[in-house]
Structures are given as structure tokens and as C-alpha cells.
Symmetry: C2
Subunit: 798 residues, 2 copies
Amino acid sequence: MANITKKVSWSSRADESGPAGEGTPLLNGSEQPRLSRQPSEGGSIFQIGRLSTVDLEEEITSDEDSLRGRPKEIPHNEKLLSLKYESLDYDNIENQLFLEEERRMSYMGFRCLEISRWVVCGLIGFLTGLIACFIDIAVEELAGFKYQVVKENIEKFTEVGGLSISLLLWAVLNSAIVMGGAIIVAFFEPIAAGSGIPQIKCYLNGVKVPRVVRLKTLMVKVCGVICSVVGGLAVGKEGPMIHSGAVVAAGVSQGRSTSLKRDFKIFEYFRRDTEKRDFVSAGAAAGVSAAFGAPVGGVLFSLEEGASFWNQMLTWRIFFASMISTFTLNFFLSIYHNNPGDLSNPGLINFGRFQSDSVAYNLYEIPLFIAMGAIGGLLGALFNVLNYWLTIFRIRYVHRPCLQVMEAMLVAAVTATVSFTMIYFSNDCQPLGPEHTEEYPLQLFCADGEYNSMATAFFNTPERSVRSLFHNQPGSYNPLTLGLFTLTYFFLACWTYGLAVSAGVFIPSLLIGAAWGRLCGILLASITSFSIWADPGKYALIGAAAQLGGIVRMTLSLTVIMVEATGNVTYGFPIMLVLITAKIVGDYFVEGLYDIHIKLQSVPFLHWEAPATSHWLTAREVMSSPVTCLNRIEKVGTIVDTLSNTSTNHNGFPVVVQVSGSDEPAKLCGLILRSQLIVLLKHKVFVELARSRLTHRKLQLKDFRDAYPRFPPIQSIHVSQDERECMMDLTEFMNATPYTVPQETSLPRVFKLFRALGLRHLVVADDENRVVGLVTRKDLARYHLGKHGLEELQLAQT
Amino acid sequence: MANITKKVSWSSRADESGPAGEGTPLLNGSEQPRLSRQPSEGGSIFQIGRLSTVDLEEEITSDEDSLRGRPKEIPHNEKLLSLKYESLDYDNIENQLFLEEERRMSYMGFRCLEISRWVVCGLIGFLTGLIACFIDIAVEELAGFKYQVVKENIEKFTEVGGLSISLLLWAVLNSAIVMGGAIIVAFFEPIAAGSGIPQIKCYLNGVKVPRVVRLKTLMVKVCGVICSVVGGLAVGKEGPMIHSGAVVAAGVSQGRSTSLKRDFKIFEYFRRDTEKRDFVSAGAAAGVSAAFGAPVGGVLFSLEEGASFWNQMLTWRIFFASMISTFTLNFFLSIYHNNPGDLSNPGLINFGRFQSDSVAYNLYEIPLFIAMGAIGGLLGALFNVLNYWLTIFRIRYVHRPCLQVMEAMLVAAVTATVSFTMIYFSNDCQPLGPEHTEEYPLQLFCADGEYNSMATAFFNTPERSVRSLFHNQPGSYNPLTLGLFTLTYFFLACWTYGLAVSAGVFIPSLLIGAAWGRLCGILLASITSFSIWADPGKYALIGAAAQLGGIVRMTLSLTVIMVEATGNVTYGFPIMLVLITAKIVGDYFVEGLYDIHIKLQSVPFLHWEAPATSHWLTAREVMSSPVTCLNRIEKVGTIVDTLSNTSTNHNGFPVVVQVSGSDEPAKLCGLILRSQLIVLLKHKVFVELARSRLTHRKLQLKDFRDAYPRFPPIQSIHVSQDERECMMDLTEFMNATPYTVPQETSLPRVFKLFRALGLRHLVVADDENRVVGLVTRKDLARYHLGKHGLEELQLAQT
């Protein structure tokens, strides 16, 4: 019983000669844990684990030091799979403690739990709505102030000459504001960069992206997004709302803040990955809902991008959170706009109301819509390819925080300069109508009572520009203005996405699309003699949908979001058509923007199904083996050594039992996680050999919950030499009924089980119920369908 | 190796003394198969398996005869679980044949398959749209003709006196038309009764409801629904569209029609439950989409009510089918309405456009909406309870086809009489405005230039009545009219649902709700001095949503359906609020209407999660045991005897293997289905003992597909005495990697695995990998949460 670590050394990899032999991982243990602490200087959107001295919450682990000496490998292509990401446990750990608690709980107890789930979702919605409201008001006020200052300056210098001073003012203002946003992101919380949608997608997929749902991330995200929008970058504030909602959800549902060191002693039942992940879906939905005023769209977004197992009750809760979120935003914005109770501002972006008579479309317009969808798909693919190259460039050369801040400032200055130049050289003057609603009409060189049309597009927050493109009267823009705007804004937006600032890509995409869409409308109207049907606003909407669909490749949720944001169902069908066309065309060339970024970060992302041609692979080829197993009653020293072994760093260990007195091989009897062992070691749940009874107090489920989710590293736990000789009884704590598959199971079957149940470790057993291998997320994510059939990704430490 | 049937006789039920002991099933074998052929005289919505002499397609099995002698048990309470329903296999049978085929298939092969899936979905959408179009036009024309005849008659007799003749004409006309519909349903295809939504829900849940997706069912459904709507019953034609779409999907996806004996030799790959079920989801969605012009709502309906495993690609295909369906309907209806290319008729029911200015709502109206939601929940619960009692009465006393036809005729006559009486005694005359769009304004005793307001509600197809209630000018109805209408229509609709006619409950619910909603609006306007905000049409819409939500208890999908049918997103938030309130209030009293009917039919329906308090149950208590196992190389005689055993009638058999020459107990090595064995027996895949090699041609996957889904009964297969002595090698055909769980697995865990993967048989194995039990659908569906905690349903043969 005292054998150290049972190594079941059956391995089939040697005698199996499949293509799986190529690219065999360097390190074939089970899932990799806390290696994520290794300082990585990768400058792209994920930027996980960079340490900063200000970071007080970071648990400094000593394996960092042991790894610091290694040469830094920066993943820079999509053929790698990083081992630094842990998985989430979407499968409940059904050990004795858990089952006892569940069995003790009465029916009323479960009712109360259900009610608290609804309360939490309500809170998530409310807080997400408030944050959205705060961002909106802050951006509105600050941007208003900025544009006012610049406008006055321009007006002053238009008369007296010397507009270069205005340009300088504008560029410096923008750069300064953006610098603020970039500094907090690059130095304090790199994970807050970008829209956060890829990260949330990964989280919902079951990948534990470090630090992604922390309070600090939320703070940086909110301030960062205000800075980037006010700083005039080609970005939107909608994408980051999804990330913000997710953080709110992860925080509220736990009833405590580890960062603030406050524990409200509520919602303790929800302190595990299963429950938390459900709430995070609700938070993401609430975020979408607040951003676009689209509660149903939010639910669909969460489901389309995230959830794997559709549960009706969960869906209703998500729906509730979304509803509350959009209502809260609506309510507070109505107060801010001095119109309490009006409820006409359902989201951060509002596409405005389309008049019912102008929105009708005809059968012969459908081919036009499909063609526009194809254009959107093409332009989207171009955008994604350019951004892919740019991101690789950034990962290689722009990975220092100060460089990142400088790049952001440069982009801000260039954006201002380009905008100014475009406005300066534009001679598209439009009459300033009495009912005209431009917020900051720039007269510039136009005659009195006229304004510069290019400025409505450039000298404005992107949300307002989109709305102008949708609703301004036909003739408000001339085709050249729109063409030039599309061209410049396309490249600006492409350059901007991936900077170290918090910002979303939704609005810029919509803006580009609206511009070329309106252009299409104008051209169509000029070709055909009867111009009534070719309403430029309508084509702007279709173009916006096409461009956004071509970039992000969502269909169902995006249709609903667009319909809800437009407030009009009439366009539902054309938008659907356009989005599906854009997706098909775009997918022919390259993946969606978010998927590209996920791939570039080498995240072990599990798609919906195993690759189609993977039926010839079985669990035997896929699994990791040999597996480090533990005995049901194991020596403490062995456990400490196993956990401390930095070369394997397994996260889950099958527990085996030897039939006493027999020579038969040990049989599988359970599965235990590293985190559980750590808690056991911390509470010294040892059986001393001298006495036969336990000396420690009985461990409760609460002890595990209190340690969740930041379990201390093994190095922080001191175990004396005497204690090392004690034994530990794992019976109560292990999951006694882990899922198993036989070795002959085909990869799609393993994949389906793993994905549908959200597993983290799947034990492969032979027909004697002995452990022969372990399948983890990276073993499945490794196979993907490339251009030339099934490919296997290489595993990398970073 | 020659032992007959390995009975693993380990059973824990005797020594476990949980409440599971109560209500132990009479028949503890695995899932029950073809007992469904037993003639059941149950007269309610399912009415499965009644034999009629005209039914040529029914495979007459001889176990009917053996059962015919038994006393008929008619399930009449919800505490029973019927054993007559088989499960569908949502889990692929991964045997060697299947794996070989998959491995042979190239990447291009899979691409082609994917493309054919899209093609099939497109076809499903197109055909469903056509059917909807046909129903709509038929109803429009026939109802128009009927109302014209009755109107002329009434006008004639209003002047000369003797309106009782008009009443008689109306009642007789209605009864005659309804009789036609009821006869085909009651005598030819009882499964076509009702809306078909409960049946489709069961199908998507994984229950094989016999005859539900046959061509004949579709024919009867379509003709039946036309008759019932034209016959003036309080029914809608929308619900049956969902069933029709599902049948179309099941037919098209198989590339053949067993009824018509045509095999087009296409889509052979899709001839299995997994693929078929996906297409049926698409068909149901296309049906909703055509019915309400709500493609997104259709997708959500399919997902909310049906699918268990959310797959993005599947969702997109479903979405595509929905889109095509609504477009087809729209296109053909636009031609029918002499307005080709107009595309303004997206669904069978169109709520009409609400004017943007009248639709706005204020913050202080929200409590009103919530109150209306609560009223809807209460009224819905009342409706459901009344209908529940009525259904039990029907099951007991009205179960002969001729009685059912007579009841339907009676309802039709009563509906006409009540309508006539209401119109006759109503003195609510409204001026016939110039822009008035009533189709059949009845003047009756009103002055010239006026019409009878009650008649707009009663003397009209329900769809038109709903639209009138939504859009007629304030003042078109007086409160008394609306009150009386609500009252009578409520009871009529309640009586009508469950008749042996094809009809839906959506429209009657909307109509009841619209009536009392409008009443609320009028009362509110009269209480408060400023009546602008209390637009009666708006309150009619809210009332309609509340009533429908209270009856069927859908939230997310219904919100989207209502929004899409209204064509206006403004009401999204109030509708959501109302639906959630209605659901919460209604659920407090009684379940939704569809769930009640599913329960009354004792269908083994699996809900989303295991009952909350079921953690103390383990696989050991839940499973059926002993299990009939087969050897991997088994004697033909044994197999025939096992399959012929009518007292057990198992559908799946674990395959075990004895290590040759050892005394160890046999180990699990696979799982084989009754249907597979039948095909093997039919093709005589025997190994003669005299020769060592196989004598038969190698069996292909195609042989199994050709037999799918109507596998012949064992009695129809002749096996000679010589052949009985042969052996059968099951190795190639069994699923070699069935999912297994240990005996200690808790019920929620078993449930999750079973539900998430759509299993049919789950083997329970001990730690030596020996079979100790089998978990099937009925073992899990048996446990449910009643008023007093966990309850166990009794199993019944009928």
C-alpha cells in the first residue's frame, strides 16, 4: 500500500503507427496547470499572465521562477496548441461530500436555490445595465466636450488661417486620451485589451483564461473603453460590454470579491465552475442586451457562441438577465436625457427608427441583397486576413507594453490626421436644414448655412455616424465622400483592432458597411431612373449587416441583434440572407475574426463536432499515457511529490484500488483533482500511521468552496517530514463515478461525450477496468481539419 | 459458448429499501417495443395504434393477437408511464460497418453530405411553405364561400323574419364540414388529431410516437385542418403547420416514401434516427415559420421545445429551412393576392402593422402589463384544468370513433348556435366607415350604414377576428360585447381542444386574450381621463400574449414569434414581461397544456434535468435487472427465442464475451439492438457449424438502412430448425463501445449522460466490467417531482 505513485505504463503510442505519430507532444502528461504564470511578453489580445509590480492580487507562485530561465517561445502561428490553459469543470465533482450535501437538502432548499439563481441573474442584468449607462454617459459627455473644443478651435482658425494648429490640437488631444487608456491596459491588465469577445468565447467553451473575469479587469475595461472611444479611435463601446457583463456575472454569483477581500457569505452554493459558467453566459447575454438593446439577441449570442448544453431553465434565466439589463439602461438613460419613463433608448447603439413606408423591399431587390452579402463576405475576409498578418507582426515585434502604448498613440494621431485631411480636402457641402440634427456640424470652408458632409462621418462618435448614414436624407452624402470614407476607415479599423486598448469591432464594421452600402444605394438610384425603392438608408443598413457578418461570421444571433437594434422586423429576411451569404463567402477564404484570434493564441478550443474525417482515430491514439494514478489511501509524501513535479504538472489523477491480498492490477475507483488535493494538504487531512483514527476535523464542502477559484500552489504548502509519512484517505473526496470510455472508442464518440458533458478529464479504461490513459481537452483540440484533411497541432508550453 | 442467454442475475432491488421499492414496475425488462400495436381505444390527442381496416401500411404483428385477450387498461391518470413507446437512437450505432464506411469516406464526401443536408433543409422549407400556402388559400376560399352563403341567407331572413332557418343553415353547414374533418381523423389517422405539437415535442425528445411522421398523417392533417377551420370551430390552422413541417422533413430527408413504395436512392446516409431527428427539428421550425411568418421564432421554438444538444451547424440549417419556408409562403401568397413580389404576407397569421406612434408605452404601464400577465396566467391555468378534466372524461367515455365524430359535430353546431345567439342579442351597432375593412359586415338589426360589432368577432375566421381586435378603431367594440365574447369563446375553445379534429390552440388563445385585453384597454381608458395611452389595440396585443403564454407556457420562442408576427420590436419588452409573468403564475397552479396532454398519455418524456431531490438514487436502484445478454457468437435459436419472448420484449441487448478457457464471468463487449438482429436474421447471416467460413454475402450498412425505419417483427421471419442450430457472429454489427456507468452513479449524473447524448440504452457495469443492469428511458422518466417531493410513476402496458 506504500508504493509511491502507481504508473500504469501501458502505452499504445509506440506500437500504433498512425499519422498521430507526427507531432507527438513533447510533454505527454495530462492537462497543464499553473504554467500560465510564466511571464509572456506576447503583445496580442490575450496577453495573459504578464506580471506587474502593482498587481497585488496575483498569487506569486514559485514555478514562475523555475521557468523564467527558459527561452521564451512566443506562439506566432496557428499550428500550435498551448498547454498553459486549464479547463473548467463543467461536470460536477460528485464525491461523497457533495452527494451528502445534496441528499441533505430538502425540496424547499432546491426551490430557494432556484430563486437565488433568478435573483443573481436579476442583479447581473441590473449591474450590467448600470455599467453600460455609465460608459454611455461618460463617453457622451467627454466626447461632446472634446468635439466642442476642437470645433471651436477649427472655426477660429478657419477664419484666421493656420488650421494646422487645429490639426495638432486634435491629434494631441486624441493621442493623450488614448495614451491613458493604453497605459492602464498594457501595464495593468493586458487581458482587458480588445473587445473581450474571444476571451469570453473561450471561457464559455470551457477554457480557463486567467484573470479574465476579475474585478480589476472590469475596471480597466470600463476606463479603457471610455478612453478609446473618446480618443477618436475607430472603435465601438459595444463589444467590451459583453466582457463587462461576464465579469459582473462571475463576481455577483460568487457573493464575494477576492480582490476586495470581502465575503458576503451568500451564494456559496454557486462557488464552482458549473454554476459560475452558467452565470457568465447570462452576463455575456446581458452585455449584448445592453449594448444593442437586444435581449433576445443577447440570449442567442450566448447560445450561439457559448453554451454547449442547452437547458431550458438556464435559457429563461439568461433571458431574464438580458431583459433587466436593457430595461435598466433604458430607464437610467431616459432620466439622463431628461425624459424619465420614456424607455426609448434600449441600447448603447440605437439604429433609430426606420419609417415603415420607406423600408419595404421588393422581390427584385433580393439578388441585390445577396450580392451585397457577397461583397460583405469578401471585404470581411480581406479585413480578417490583413488583421491576421498585423497580429502576427504585433506578436513578433510589438510585445513590450511601452511599444504597445506608443502604437496606440500613433494610431490615434494618424486617425485624427487622416480624418482632418479628409475633411479638409472634401468639398461636399450640404445645406444645414432647419430640422437637421447633426450634433457638431462643421462649416469649415462651406458657405454659411452649409456644413461639411465628410465631417458628419469623421467628426463624430462612430455610433452617431452610423445613425447618420442610416437616416440622413438621400443626397446628404456624395458618392466620392462615401467611397473615400469607406477606404480610409476600413484600413484604420483594421489597424486599430488588436491594439492594446479596450475596444470593440462591431461599430467600426457597421460604419464601414453602412458607408459602402449607402454608396451602393446611391449608385443604384442613379443607374435606374426610378429611385424611390433604392433608399440609401436601407442599403446602408444592408451593407452594415453584410460587413459585420463578413467579419465576425455570426448569423442567427446577429440577425436578431440587427432586427432588435433597428426596431423593425421588416428587414429581418434581407438581413438573414445577407448574413448567411456573407458567412458562406467569407468562410471560403478565412475564418471569422474572433476565431482567428483564438487560434493565434493557441487556445485549446473545442468546436461543435470532431473533424469529419477523424473516425479512424480511437481513444487509444488520442489519449495521454502513461497516467499518474494515486492509490485510494496514499502516502502524503507521494502526493506532494506528484503535485510538485513541474515536468508533468497534471491536474487530475485517476484513483485506483488494489484488491487487498491479490496480485491483480489495480482498478479504477475514482478521479481527484489537483485543487482538491491541495485543499486536503492545506487542511492536513492525514491519517497518522501510529493511531488508527483521524486526527483532523471533518472537512466540509465549504472548505473547498472557500478556496475556490484561486487554489494556492503546492509550493506554498508546507509539509513536514513526519507528515510526509502519514497517509491520506481520498475515498470521501474523489469523484467515485468518473466517466470512462474503452480504448476502441472512436474520436468523434469521445469528442461528443467530452463536449456534451463539458468534461475535463475522461478516463480510458480497458475491459478489466484498469486505467490505460486519460483524455483531456488538448488531446481533442489537437486535431483539426485543415486544407489537406486532418491535421494535428503541435503542443507548446507557452 | 453454447449457453443460451446469459442472464446476469445480480439485482439490488431486493436488498435496497428506498422509496423506490414502492411502485416497482410490473415488468422490469428493458424498454418495451412493438406493444404499441395493441389496439388502444383511448380517445385523446394521441390515439396511437388504433387499427382500421383501411390501413394498408400498418404492419400487422402477431403480438397484437396475443395481447388482444387482455383486459384493456386505459391510462387515465398522470401517475402512469406507458411502456408502449420506443425510444429513438440519437446516439450513432458505431459498429464496424459504420466505422468502415466513415473511414472510407473522403473529406469531399463529407462536404457533399453537408451540402445535401442544406439541400434537404431547403426542400423542407419549400414544401412546408407550399403546404401552408395551400391550407391558407383553401381556407380563405371555402370560408369565404360559406360566410357569403350564410350572410346572404341572414340578410334575406332578417327582412322577412324566420332567422331560425338561418341558424339552422349555419349550424348544419358547420356540422357537415366538421364531420368530414372528424371522420378522416377518427377513422383513418387518429394521430392527426389536435395540433400535433405534443407529439412533435415527444418525437424531438426522443420518443418514437408511432405513425406520427407518415405521409398519410400529413394528408389527413391538412384536409382535417381545412375542415375544422372552415367548419367554424374555435381553432386555428397554425399549430398543425408544425406537425406538417415535421412530416415533410421526415419524408424528404429519407429520399423515399414507404407509403408510396418509392425509393429515390438519394439521401441514404440520412436513414437513421440521428439524422432524421435533426431534419424533423428543421421541419418543425419551418412549420412555425410558415404559420407566423417568424423564422427566428421557429428556430427558437425547435430549440426550446425540442433539441437537447445545441449544435451551431444544425441551428444554421434549421434557420435556413425556416427562412425558405416563410419566403415560399410569402411569394406564393403574393401571387394569389395579385400582388406578386410584394412579400408582405410572411405567415398564415399576420397581426398587421401597428402604427409606430400608437405603440409607444410608458413606464407606469409596466405594472399594468405585469398584472395582465398574471391574469393571463390565471385564465390559462383555468383553461388547462378544465381541459384536463375534459380530456379524462373523453378518455373514459368518448373513445369510439363514431362518438368522437358526433362530439365534433355537436361542438360545431353549438359553436354556430352560440355565435348566432350572441350576434342576435347583441345591440352593439357600429357605423360602417368608408375605410372599414370588415370582410363580412353583418347588418342584422342595425340601422343602414351600420354593422353588428359582435359579428366581427364571431362571424369571421379567428385570424381575422384577432386582427380586428388589434387594429379596429377605439370604440369599435363596446365592453359588454367583449366581455360576453371572452366568456363564451373561452369555454368553446376549451371544449374544442382535444376533439378528434386537426386543429391548433394558438389562435383561439390569442383571440380570447385579445378580447379581454381590449376590454382592459377600454376600461383603463374610461377610468383615467386621458385616454391616449390606453390604446385598446395595444392592450389587445398584450392580452393575447398573456393568454397564449398562460396556456402553452413558452417564453423565449413565443416572445420572438409575437414580435415577428407583429412586425414591431417596440412591444418586445412588454411581451416578454407578460409571458414570464404568465408562466410563473400559471406554473404555480398547473403545467402547460402540451405537458398535460403528454402526461395524460403516459409518455416517457425526459425533462431537462433530473428531479432536484433525486441525488440519493443511484444507477443501482434505477436500472432494470436482470438483463438479457447475448454472447458475441450466439446460437440463432437463442436469438430467435429471445426476440420472440413477448413477456420481455427487450429492444437492446448487451453483448458479452467469455474469456475462452477461463471461468471468469463474461465481460461486456458491445450492445446490439433488436432491429439489427432482425436484419441479421432476415439476411440469414449465419455461420454453419459444419463449415468454418461464412456462407452469406457480406452484409452492408445499406441493408440496415433499407430496412429502416419499419423493421419487420420477429414473427414474420422464418427460421428453420436447421438454421436454429447455426451460430451468428455479432462482432461486426454490435456497437463495440457502448457508454457505461458504475452502479454507484447518482441518478442526476446518469440522467445528464443519458439526456445529453440522446441515449436509448445505458449499460450499468461493475468494476470487473460485467453487465449488472440496463438503464432505459422509462427508468429515468419514472421519477418526477410531485407536490410531496419525489414520486415514482407506475409502469403500464398501455
